[in-house]
Amino acid sequence: MQFNIEVNNRIIEVRKGETILSALFRNGIKVPTLCNMKDLSPTGACRICVVEVEGKENLVTSCSYPVEESMKIKTHSPRVVKARKTLVELLLSNHPDDCLYCERNGCCELQDLAIDLNIRERRISGKKSRHKLDLSSPSIVRDPAKCILCGRCVRVCDEIQSVSTLDFLNRGNKTIIGTAMARDLNFSSCINCGRCVMVCPTGALHEHSYLDEVLDSLNNSSLQVVVQYGPAVTVSLAEEFGIKSGKDITGVINAALRKIGFTHIFDTAFAADLAVMETVEVIMQKLETGEGFPIISSCCPAWVKYAEQFYPEVLSYLSTCKSPQQMLGSIIKSYYAPQQNINPNAIYSVAIMPCLAKKFEAQREEMTHKAISDVDVVITTRELSRLIKMYGIDIHNIEPQTSDTPFGARSSAGKLFGTSGGTAEAILRTLHHRITGKELNSLKLQDLRSVSGIKEIPIKIGGKVFKVVLANGLTGIEKLMEGIQNKSIDAHFVEIMACPGGCVNGGGQPFKSGEKDIRARIRSLYEVDEVDNIKASHKNPLINELYENFLEKPGSDKAKQQLHTCYTKRDVLL
């Protein structure tokens, strides 16, 4: 049902049951918000979105108040503007003054609000609250002094990621966001997915940056600094440099990285092909007996930590294959280094990932060989963008280049790892070939694309049904886990991505990008797949070469040693 209300002396048409805010947005009237989150019910905590409704004694929050017939609203009356301004001034009254040094300088919602409301002096000043910076996590830094307690991180951790590491602690002015027993983040059940960092309006939650380490090693002439970048990175950087959002700029990134001084540049998608080969081998072995299913993907490190903590019972189902990042890291040091006559210790292996959990993954004990880590340091897409700017590289005027041998080719299937459903699609292409000896009729598996939530998808391979389950994000994951444990879900392969949308929407991606950009990135990955010549991992000639020269064959002892691992129950405060 529709009816009219009056806003700022103008009549607008609204739908019964919607909130004032949604009605205003649809009619192009902008009201600032802070705690409001799409798809989650309003909490009314920040009060920034207040408007004046005729007949109401107090201002009402437009995010929560439903429209009523013949309502008369003022969105920018002096009373409203004064209230909003005072609210932001209150937040700023004891906010740290280090904006210039802040991670979020230039992309901070509080800063934007202060600008929009024309706050030009500290009218109200308050005692600074003293808080400890939590640097304990390899992925996420918590700076409670900058926290404005909007609660978005708590909600995303709780309602979307089903992790519930964060909650409000204490009360009143002493309220902070923290973990159980107010411990540091690395003792907590945090899975490092970084969704909280993505929704944080200020610099209270930000990534643990390793740029300094990278810069130091670049300047260290005794080190060979090798770099790899994840499949989603190349489609996520464009809008940061004013290029059409989602555009694949692999070549440009190669060139830029070379200019910065990385000695060898590899595309992690190559290792994704390798991961496909190994996973398919595992599946083939299990298909022989028909037992040990489902195989659950383990390339998302946030999901792996989630399973280790919350569902250690399903760890035996987790694919033993390392993630592409770690596979590449491993063969760089074990195969590539001797091949180039370099001491593995003299290689500094950097990975650029769209992800914060990858930082944690690289530091895992399982990911080392004889005290040499597979990957030395992980930086995010955001850090890469900073690195490019720091080295003064003009992305627009740079000739695209290719990545380096011997891992210089990839299939487009490997590229698909960057989005939810892509891993499964890549694996099925090769699996179909392994089982039937033929390629799929259509390599494009539309059923596996743009799945939302958790879905079971049966795929026909050679007359038999191969059952795939996709979990696009962790929402509702408990049900899936229960189903796997009590065998009510009978699937062959389960792909789980902790971030909705997959790596393209990872916790290490640029802050300014919105939903449109994410969609553009996914589209771009599928476009790459559309035009590429090599569309399946087993067709990648360099993969076959690698097996011939080093790993023998998928599932060999050598491959197991370098590319496989296993996970055990992790004791944290749940």
């Binding site: 909490t43 009314g44 920040c46 009060r47 107090n58 439903p66 004064k82 209150l90 404005i148 009360r171």
Partner: protein
């Protein structure tokens, strides 16, 4: 009493008492009830008032002394625990009742008084100087020289409806309550009325919620009743979290069955089969009495499945609030019962639509609930004859602060506020009555010349005051207004749930501004005074935004004391800011210290410790304080071994 006895008594009540109107019991029933009311006694009874406040005053020690007296003298006496009359300053109170004579009340009893009192009364003599008064009863002989309670101004000026049983009956004995008409209203409700009719009755009575807002209770009930659902909940908000208010505690501890009965009827009215009483955990006695009352009400068949064979089921659970002022707000209270942080949620949806566990829920204040049984029993006409046009019934208050007589009272709506001060018995001799503060940390202060206003939801609001939950403080000239407001703001910022910005940050900033003006800076200059004054201007604008934008009532009303006192006591604020003086001598940092030359030995201890070198002198002769340099920290007073340092 064993179970058999109990069930026989219950049977007697069910078959003879609850079916009748309390005004017309048959003679034989009335006679037996007089036994239950302890008006016909065969041996002496000693009543001892045990409530949380009297325990503080030493009632348990008095009880011990009584028991000792009894066993020492091998007496056959009954000792009955009762609640409180509301005369807190006179506690501990004991009543002695010997056959044939009126029950007599003794005040401020100490363990040492037990012997003279009991020696006297048991031998037909009342030590009149210790007696407060005697009850009146037609069958009993009055004592000489002891006033009748109903003639004492304290009782005469009150209209005790919901407090009528307090301090009279044994709160742990359901029959005490039933013999005085208790649970008759419930029987009447269940036998004669539908849900809807009870809503209508309460609507017609004009009862308004006592929690503060004054929303019509019947209307609220009907809203919840009209939502179709499989489950509704009734919640009695008994979380008396206003510091300095104690009247609900008194009510729960002295007459818990009144709350239970009211709550069952309210639940019936909205068709709820589960009700909660949310009270403070810190008051273990309150919880104990409520739980005891609930358990006997179950035994009597007033609670549980198919009560009084009506087909109506009702369970009551006491929830011990773990201590948060904000849980007085209904949505926060609901979250707390659900096992969550007590943070208020946005309205709409209102609890009557989506409350506890998402079901329609009515949250009523305990005083509202306490009114219900009287309304049903005595009728709508009777109830609406009490009070004013728009505010019906009575209102209970607790009076504390600098009042001489700290007490809890119940007066008809429409009584002038000045009466409350009279109950308080004025202030200490030599002190001047300064103001009245009503409504606690979110309340208002009223000057002596404003006290003609009548106690009435709308009249008080017109006068810029609130009725609040009934906590009133009497202030004399030894109270510093700035300090009091600072205390309230300290309380608010500590008790704010921390969810919304205006309340969380605003209250803290306001506290800081208030702290700033009641403190002397280490380095003095003119600019600083200006800053402090600017702070006060910010106080006003902050207060307005807080009121306008806060999520719940706590934040919206928190600036009230500041705004009100800034208007009424502007001079006192300015004195703090410009003259750095606190007339009342309360703001410790604004004190200036002096050294008594008579007492000073010149030991140099103070001069050594003084952080601003404001104390000078020659060793072994008296020192003195340079006033301009003194920052009032008080270290000199602390270190002086000769009590030579004093302040003005």
């Amino acid at each position: 009493m064993d179970n058999q006895d109990n069930s026989n008594i219950i049977k007697f009540f069910l078959e003879n008492v609850l079916i009748n109107d309390p005004s017309s019991y048959p003679k034989n029933v009335e006679d037996r009830l007089e036994v239950f009311r302890r008006n016909r006694i065969s041996k002496p009874i000693i009543y001892i008032g045990i409530t949380s406040s009297s325990v503080c005053a030493g009632a348990l020690k008095v009880k011990g002394a009584i028991e000792e007296y009894i066993s020492e003298n091998h007496l056959d006496l009954e000792v009955v625990t009762i609640g409180g009359l509301g005369l807190c300053s006179n506690e501990p109170l004991i009543d002695v009742h010997i056959p044939g004579k009126n029950r007599v009340v003794f005040r401020k009893v100490s363990p040492n008084d037990i012997q003279p009192i009991l020696d006297g009364v048991l031998n037909q003599y009342v030590p009149a100087e210790m007696a407060l008064g005697q009850y009146r009863h037609k069958f009993h002989e009055p004592w000489q020289d002891v006033p009748f309670l109903d003639e004492l101004p304290f009782f005469k000026e009150q209209n005790r409806v919901i407090l009528s049983n307090c301090g009279v009956i044994d709160p742990n004995n359901i029959f005490d309550y039933m013999a005085r008409g208790g649970y008759s209203a419930l029987a009447k409700t269940i036998r004669n009325h539908t849900y809807d009719e009870i809503c209508t009755l309460v609507e017609q009575s004009g009862l308004r919620g006592r929690g503060g807002g004054g929303y019509p209770t019947g209307t609220k009930w009907r809203k919840a009743l009209q939502v179709s659902t499989d489950q509704r909940y009734m919640i009695c908000n008994a979380d008396e979290s206003d510091p300095g208010a104690f009247v609900y505690r008194l009510l729960m501890e002295s007459d818990p069955h009144r709350i239970i009965e009211g709550l069952i009827i309210s639940s019936y009215a909205i068709g709820a089969s589960k009700a909660f009483i949310y009270t403070r955990n810190s008051n273990s006695l309150t919880v104990e009495r409520l739980e005891q009352a609930i358990s006997t009400a179950y035994d009597a068949g007033f609670l549980g499945h198919n009560i009084l064979e009506s087909g109506f089921n009702i369970d009551i659970v006491v929830r011990k609030g773990p201590g948060a002022y904000v849980c007085g707000e209904e949505t926060a209270l609901i979250r707390s019962i659900e096992g969550k942080r007590g943070m208020p949620t946005v309205k709409p949806p209102y609890p009557t639509e989506q409350g506890l566990f998402g079901k329609p829920t009515v949250v009523n204040n305990i005083e509202t609930i306490a009114n219900i049984s009287s309304i049903i029993l005595n009728g709508v006409q009777w109830y609406s004859s009490i009070g004013t046009e728009t505010s019906k019934g009575t209102k209970i208050f607790s009076i504390s602060g600098k009042a001489q007589n700290i007490c809890a009272v119940e007066v008809s709506m429409g009584t002038p506020l000045s009466k409350i001060v009279e109950f308080g018995g004025g202030v200490d001799i030599g002190r001047k009555f300064k103001a009245l503060h009503i409504g606690g940390p979110s309340g208002f202060t009223a000057l002596p010349n404003e006290l003609d206003v009548l106690i009435d939801f709308d009249k008080l609001k017109e006068a810029g005051l609130v009725i609040g939950s009934g906590g009133i403080q009497v202030l004399d000239d030894s109270v510093c207004i700035v300090d009091m407001v600072k205390y309230f703001m300290y309380f608010i910022q500590k008790e704010s749930c921390g969810k919304c910005i205006p309340c969380r940050e605003g209250s803290r900033r306001m506290l800081e501004i208030l702290q700033n003006i009641s403190k002397r800076p280490l380095n003095e200059n003119g600019h600083n005074t200006l800053e402090r004054f600017k702070g006060v201007i910010h106080l006003e604008s902050l207060a307005e935004v807080m009121r306008d934008t806060s999520l719940c009532g706590l934040g919206q009303t928190a600036p009230n004391p500041v705004l009100r006192t800034l208007k009424l006591f502007r001079d006192e604020y300015e004195e703090h800011i410009f003259d750095r003086k606190c007339q009342a001598g309360v703001c410790r940092d604004l004190r200036t210290f002096y050294i008594d030359i008579e007492k000073c030995t010149g030991c140099t201890a103070c001069a050594k410790k003084c952080p601003t070198n404001a104390i000078i002198g020659t060793p072994r002769s008296p020192y003195f304080v340079v006033e301009d340099k003194c920052i009032g920290c008080g270290i000199c007073e602390e270190v002086c071994k000769f009590s030579a340092v004093y302040f003005k």
